[in-house]
């Protein structure tokens, strides 16, 4: 084989491999980025109470995460550990984040047709008038739920070596 032919063949083989890898998605084969919590998220058709409760919870998380400028998943993972919950509970933005989360849940529920407009308006007024300390107390009372989640969602963080 002529020397130039060998070098040319090496260039063609290497360039082809790189091009095919990129064409098959090699440049973007990475974990799916999480959604922006400030953008609306479609609700699944609420068929039962469990689904409505889940959607309301997720919307509340979205609203709170948006207010805190973090992802919804970051909030969930933080709530999954005692340290994370303590940090979250002591965050001075907590009451406003909770309020934003609850309002977001009402907005999403109304948009999805899960609650009528008149009920949504009433709920919004109630949430906006709720004192900050009562919101924080309500969140702390929800600690039982997070105790159950503790060690469950958190360990997802260790799935890689």
């Amino acid at each position: 084989m002529r020397p130039r032919t060998l070098v040319l063949a090496a260039i063609i083989a290497s360039a082809t491999l790189v091009a095919v890898s990129v064409a098959l998605g090699g440049a973007t084969y990475e974990p799916k980025p999480v959604a922006d919590p400030c953008q609306p998220r479609p609700w699944r058709s609420p068929g039962n109470l469990d689904e409505v409760a889940q959607q309301l919870t997720l919307s509340t998380l979205d609203g709170a995460a948006c207010e805190l400028h973090v992802s919804r998943e970051t909030v969930v993972l933080a709530l999954g550990t005692p340290e994370g919950r303590s940090k979250f509970a002591n965050d001075p933005r907590l009451s406003e984040a909770l309020r934003a989360g609850l309002l977001r849940a009402v907005d999403d529920a109304e948009r999805a047709g899960a609650i009528p407009g008149i009920v949504a308006d009433g709920l919004r007024q109630a949430i906006e008038s709720l004192p900050a300390d009562q919101l924080v107390a309500a969140a702390r009372n929800a600690g039982g739920l997070f105790d159950q989640l503790s060690g469950s969602l958190g360990p997802l963080g260790g799935l890689l070596p």
């Binding site: 070098v7 990475e30 799916k32 993972l77 360990p155 997802l156 963080g157 799935l159």
Partner: protein
Amino acid sequence: VLRASLSVAVGLVLADASIVVLALPEIYRDFDVSVSAVIWVLVAFNLVLAATAVPAAILARRIGPARVTAAGLLLFALGGLFCGLATSLTPLIAARCLQAVGGAAAVTGALELMPFAVGSERIAARTWATAGAIGAALGPAAGGLLTELVSWQSIFLVQVPAAVLVAIPLLPVVREESTARMRRAEIRRAGRPHLPANLALALVSGALAAALFLIVLLMIEGWRHSPIVAALAVSVMPIAALATGPLARTVSDPRARAAAGAILVAGGLAGLGLLPRALVVATFPSQILVGAGLTLVLSALTETALEGRAPQAIHGGWTIAARHAGVVAGLLLLTPIFTADLVTERSAAEQAGTAALLDADLPATFKIDLAQRLGDRLAAERGKVPVIGPAFDPLPSDPSERAHALALQATLQDQLDRAATHAFSNSFLIAAGFGLAALLPIVLARRRDVAL
């Protein structure tokens, strides 16, 4: 017999630079140490080999190459025995250093003896370089098979009789040296080493170290394959290396072979950095390119570094020093990069997995139970990437929920595979940069009409 013995000795020692790659995950779990610590099982061997190659060559010139080769093989065997009996990381690393000192003596002495066995310095240089390239390529697969079928200790213990057997045909030559006492008269000042060829060897060896080390870690730790599957998978590389041998012999110009080899190594590594799926078979085209490139570039650069230079052993020592210094540089540079990328990807996988779990169309109670089971599996596997399938057992009885649960399982697995694969991308691409950088001394040497 002497030719075969010397070739096997060179292959055996240079295979040792990479043979433990597939055993590293077992070793770090056995000794309960980190990846950054266990990497020194590889680094220490290559570092000591690089540091002692030239002094060993000088010694071979002074007291006789057969003596140095035979003594080196026995020291290598003794080091292997201590490695196999090591009960913690520090003695293992110390024994690896002993192996490397013996290995350096055996390899450089073998080069000095090879012309007597094959009849010409040119053929000797080619035989020596090819034996080293084949050894380096076969090392990981052999180590993986032994780890899976026996234990990681067996990798070292099988080398003990092998090294002793290889040393036996050297004994008549050792006796001849003892009576001749003529070596001292032949000592003369060695010429300057071939800088472009040795620099290119260092760069391309750094890239190859990454190829061998990272691909094995990706398969075993990232994709959760057993060492035997990984060993079979990475055997594509030495098969390609062996198959390229006859092609390499048809091209007489070592510059063209070196350039083509460096391009193929870089292309193969870039392919590994851009894997589109977490599938073993997806690595095969890249491995074929790296294996073919390895044969072309290592033998061409080694021949060039040795051609017309005397004494051969000392210049061979420089090539060994350059190759293994390159391996050390590659490992030390890329290990912190990929360990940092693992942390980043762990966070990305955590977020993506949590999102998939939250958005799954499943009852809240099932999700919470599932998260708990995933956590339990992770704890049971001591931080290793878990096989998540059993965490989904039992599946919901409702057909619709069952379908959603299976879809969630596939999504979680996909996110894990993506994160594990992507964590190695930057390191492979940087290693590809090493391969491309090796072209620079090749091209510069050509422009300056240096014999490369």
